[in-house]
Amino acid sequence: MSSRSRSSRHQGSSRISDDQIVDLISKLRSLLPEIRNRRRSDKVSASKVLQETCNYIRNLHQEVDDLSERLSQLLQSIDPDSAEASIIRSLIM
């Protein structure tokens, strides 16, 4: 890792190689549903990927909250001592 960054001295004194970052960005992109399905996915810029990631994480947070809400409602409808309830309780964070 350090040898790669030292060889890239011309690009600036970066300890982290550009390739690493590109690699990570592509991995991140593969997780994002919107960008993944888009054509010409090789041209997506890093800032766009980051933006989409932030949005996606926020969406997922929202979904988790909604699901927790639903699960807690379901929890009320069943017997609290049952094993199902314990499962649901463990799901709700």
Partner: protein, 442 residues
């Protein structure tokens, strides 16, 4: 209380106003005030009083108002005086600095002039370029750099002068009176530049952490210097250099955008204290995966809930619903919890075969009809439906991410790993650990 570069001069930033000399003595923070007052013996000139000043700060503040004004101006001029002396290569720095420095009674406008040396383009290129960068958009950074540079300039001179002047502290004559405030302030002002440096240093570090660029960590400073050198020389501003400047600026803007997004991402990720980009991106990837998993599980739980009563057990397969490898229906969990552990053993082998799933973030909603269909295909399993304790339980691979979710009581374990090591590559290690645990709580 800070010594700040403001509009081309160093001002002592106090609470009310940085310009009013009358307020300075009142608003001085105790440390700086002590530093300033400690070196204030000019007309008083008594070594004993030096000690007194440390103890009776307020009284001195009242009594020696005019003195403190002078001291303040002196302390803030210190940079200018010594820097101008440094910047003017002709004047010998050490010996003539004392006699040639302006008298304490100079009015504030003089500060501007002395700092004019500081900010004008100068034969001493490196200082000037650092200083001149205050003209560029990077004004704040340059200003802090300038103050720190000034501090660096001042402190060696201060130290040299103070060591030299320790002998002469008797202040009777006028010339030595003008000389003495300076050495005594110098000794105290050694404390000031480090303070200024400290003020600048953490911010500088913060700035560096913030501006960790994709590829050019150090390059932000260089283009600025290069631009300023070009501007100051004024000669080599060819088209190419202008294009390069434009490119640099657009590159800088792009980097700023990316850094901003990185910061936003970092705030979204819990417990992310990583400073460098790669590890932060790693954590982001992991967190995103775990979040997706969590949403899957919860949605599945919501979908499965209506079905969760004992009669439906047999219809719920453990061979999965086309979802990610760790996904198991929830009823298996409570089955295993109610059943005796003795039944675990014999059913481990056949029951725990698990098809290899691909990681698909988009989970199709649990489909009861599909579940029924897939369960019927596995006759051996449905026959032992009541003894489903061998069925794989909730993903043990979630454990690495439990620090994200804070699930200490997530006791869903995978029994899968005993029989089929092939089906799951990643979670095997955690599962192996889990299987040993599953015996005890049950």
């Amino acid at each position: 209380m800070e010594l700040l570069w403001q509009d081309g001069q160093v001002v002592v930033k106090s609470q009310r106003s940085p310009r009013k000399p009358h307020d300075h003595s009142v608003n001085l923070s105790p440390s700086v005030a002590a530093a300033v007052r400690g070196g204030s013996p000019a007309p008083v000139g008594d070594p004993l009083l030096l000690q007194h000043h440390h103890q009776q700060q307020l009284e001195d503040a009242v009594n020696n108002n005019h003195l403190f004004i002078q001291e303040d101006e002196m302390s803030s001029w210190l940079f200018s005086d010594f820097c101008s002396d440094l910047l003017l290569p002709s004047a010998p720095v050490v010996t003539s600095s004392v006699p040639s420095c302006p008298l304490p009674a100079l009015p504030p406008p003089k500060r501007l002039d002395s700092f004019g040396h500081f900010s004008r383009p100068n034969p001493l290129a490196d200082e000037a370029t650092v200083v001149d960068s205050s003209d560029t958009p990077m004004a704040t950074r340059a200003s802090e750099d300038a103050t720190r540079v000034g501090a660096q300039f001042a402190s060696p001179v201060v130290r040299a002068a103070s060591s030299r002047d320790q002998a002469g502290t008797s202040p009777s004559s006028a010339s030595s009176a003008s000389a003495d405030p300076i050495p005594s302030t110098k000794t105290e002002d050694v404390a000031c530049p480090p303070k200024v440096a400290e003020d600048g240093a953490p911010e500088e570090r913060k700035r560096k952490a913030r501006d960790c660029d994709w590829s050019n960590d150090g390059e932000d400073v260089e283009p600025v210097l290069n631009d300023d050198k070009r501007v100051s020389r004024g000669s080599s501003s060819t088209k190419r250099s202008r294009a390069a400047e434009v490119h640099n600026q657009s590159e800088r803007r792009r980097r700023d955008r990316i850094n901003e997004k990185m910061r936003a991402l970092q705030e979204l990720i819990p417990h992310c204290n990583k400073a460098d980009k790669a590890s932060m991106l790693d954590e982001a990837i992991g967190y995103l995966k775990s979040l997706q998993m969590q949403v899957q599980m919860m949605s599945m739980g919501c979908g499965m809930m209506p079905m969760m009563f004992p009669g439906m057990q047999q219809y719920i397969p453990h061979t999965g619903m086309g979802m990610n490898r760790p996904m198991i229906p929830f009823p298996n969990v409570f089955n295993s919890s109610t059943l005796p552990t003795a039944s675990v053993g014999p059913h481990m082998g056949p029951g725990s075969r698990f098809p290899a799933f691909q990681m698909s973030p988009r989970i199709p909603a649990p489909d009861p009809s599909r579940i029924l269909h897939s369960s019927q295909s596995d006759a051996t399993l449905s026959s032992s439906s009541l003894q489903n304790s061998n069925l794989p339980r909730m993903p043990g691979f979630m454990d690495p991410y439990q620090n994200f979710f804070g699930l200490p009581h997530m006791h869903f374990h995978f029994q899968l790993s005993q029989a089929s090591t092939s089906s799951s590559a990643k979670p095997t290690t955690s599962k192996a650990g889990e299987t040993s645990q599953k015996e005890s709580p049950d």
